[in-house]
Amino acid sequence: MKKHPIYPIRKPIAAMIFLLSAALCGCSSDNGVNGQVIVYNWGEYIDPETIRMFEEESGIKVIYDEFETNESMYPKVESGAVAYDIACPSDYMISRMIQNGMLSEINYDHIPNAKKNIGAQYYEQSRGFDPDNKYAIPYCWGTVGILYNQTMVEEPITRWEQLWDKKYADNILMQDSVRDAFMVAQKLNGDSMNTLDPEELTAAKNLLIEQKPLVQAYVVDQVRDKMIGGEAAIGVIYSGEAIYTQKENPDLVYVIPEEGTNVWIDSWVILKNAPNKKNAEKFIDFMCREDIALMNFEYITYSTPNVAARELIEEEDIKNSEIAFPDLSQYDNLETYVYLGEDGDYLYNELWKEVKAY
């Protein structure tokens, strides 16, 4: 899912320069004593200290690269321009990669911490996109919900419906990404967020167009800073950002809307053509170690599926936080995104463009 502020400016050019320079100079040769591992993760989605510790303990050099969206990660991995070993995509993107044969099966014997520390319920949840838990090891998870400023609303916000309330005109921040925006409208209509039914999709599109005059801005990462600064009363946000924003501004409240929402999991995967598979397994195993997972949780504040790490959290209110670790069994209308196929993606994108251009 989407993380901290990085703006996708001129990435293709940057990628091209990078490729050219790599081609001209030959690849760098600064390897650790035990070789290297090339990791492709979300921006600001790890405590850099853990990478340093891994390098020190294993003697493996980590080459770390970041992406901003699942959609920008995919073509880069697919083209094979850089031979990544590990990536950390979200659920629906993992199912796309599985379908296209881009992932390598996990050998759990080489990653003992994954079996030992990651909660069984998260593997269970992963079966939605990885039916036999063969490819993905959960790294972070969360929900998409509403963050609102208590001092700026007249009653508690509990439903997506309230994002269509005219009294909050110019006070609403929506997500500027196709699936997250449609999900809100689809859940409000009582439809699945993975629907390909033209009628349901048109209904969702019309609902979003109807909402557009009330929306202050469509944003991705900026929702965090804008909510902290009191720019808007209500924002659609990832649960992982909620703990951080509340620390900065205690007036903010995070809720999972009654109509249901998206539950997502970002997972480690090893790529089919990974040149350093052994090192990749070691890296993932290290990241699943409870003390390392705890460091990462405290740094990025996204919910960890690492049960052993959660036990180590010292602050009781965080350990039992409804935001970081909600009891999902209370909600019966949660869903995880599914890859919709190329035609499905195209359809969603075209409809989203219609909303944005309206």
Partner: protein, 272 residues
Amino acid sequence: MTSKNKWLSTPYIVWSVVFIIVPLGMILYYGLTDATGAFTLDNITAIASAGHAKALRVSLFLSLVSTLVCFLLAYPLAMILARMQTKRHNFIILIFILPMWMNFLLRTLAWQTLLEKNGVINHVLTFLHLPTLKIINTPAAIVLGMVYNFLPFMVLPLYNSLAKIDVNVINAARDLGANHFYTFIRIILPLSVPGIISGITMVFIPALTTFVISALLGGGKLLLIGDVIEQEFTRTSNWHLGSGLSMVLMIFIVINMILSAIFDKDGEGSML
């Protein structure tokens, strides 16, 4: 340049081939093919679809407005600069270029902080008991961002062509009885046309293709053609459609370049 020294241009030729010719060829290839690699014109005709056409119309309108505002702001300034002594005008030009030493993105983000509801400007206005400014996330904010970012590109060519006008020509006009207004209309303005055309090109083209400004200052509520192309590349990864639409934009750029070639035969309006 003598033929002996021609090899000196090799780095430039290599640079142009690698970073200009090859990418243009790639855009041409992607723009004229579909996902299977077969030839198609669909990516180009896609500009006629409702969403794309509207994005193009909005972009053309906003960039024309920005260009006009830039021109109206820059012309008097360039005239003042052209009449100043060298020492002083160099300093003023420096002040104009100074913000460009900072990253374009940072400057635009700064405007966001300034214009926000609880932004710096509104804090000051509230403190002075004045009505607050509500232009963030509107087309006006996008125009403001464009004007701010591209104004130097208008000032410099205008200044350049105005500074080249021989003072004696102006004096002659005055001697022959032309008043200030007439001198301006008949002498100064026609002689500065190359600068005007060059300035318009340098503001209009980046304004037409921008996508950062609309996202940051427009709140993503107004889709510009630059945004559409950017998203085709970074989010939808439909490079074919993105390239096709870029080619449509290039048509406007080519028209603009032809115009400037006609009016600016000697390259007088070039930057500095």
